[in-house]
Symmetry: C2
Subunit: 121 residues, 2 copies
């Protein structure tokens, strides 16, 4: 059991890569991950789980096939399981993801943006 709190800003300062989630905490079989995003991700979905986006710094858009949702720092959104989505950010945006352990960032889509899973920072 850790002696100190997890400081999200300190954790973010330890990496600079985009679209490469880093785990900062586990709760039961779920993980909290930090990710820096910039540009346009791939369209993808997660067949077995919802996925939570919490914006810590900056602004991003979650594109869906029929709408888009804008998020700023201090805002969150739950992408329902099975729903195709594409995160985009004109400028760098720092996000916390919450989802079950083992979820791959590109979901069913695969491709060049697929990041190694379960990398901690």
């Amino acid at each position: 059991m850790p002696d100190a709190a997890i400081n999200l800003r300190d954790k973010l300062a330890r990496f600079s890569e985009h679209w490469s989630p880093r785990v900062v905490a586990e709760m039961n079989d779920y993980q909290f991950k930090l990710v820096r995003i910039q540009g346009e991700f791939v369209w993808h979905s997660h067949a077995d789980t919802d996925e939570v986006f919490i914006v810590l710094d900056g602004e991003m858009t979650l594109q869906f096939r029929d709408r888009e949702v804008r998020l700023s720092a201090g805002e969150m959104y739950v992408v329902p399981l099975g729903v195709e989505h594409r995160p985009v950010a004109a400028r760098e945006c720092c996000v916390m993801l919450v989802e079950p352990k083992g979820v791959v960032n590109t979901g069913e889509a695969g491709g060049a943006y697929t990041a190694p899973n379960d990398v901690w920072v």
Copy 2:
């Protein structure tokens, strides 16, 4: 599927009671709750689940029987299942909790601080 992001500050502005968690989002069978805390809560534990504290505004301390952990805005901590803890805050502190749906705020302890469950804001 909501048309807009969940703004945590706006949600917090809608209630003022202390120690009374309000649900803002669900992910699978988990809930994200906001709570305003001030003073000393009761010692309690949750037998079946870890519990996540993310401080949004202010400062708080998680007291354990053998140590204490201080948290400020932008910091988080995972209380492991079964571990007795007591949240305290000298001044009002705004916190996001993440835990499975159905978790009662006072865990196994019960008592006057026990809040209604599954109240949304």
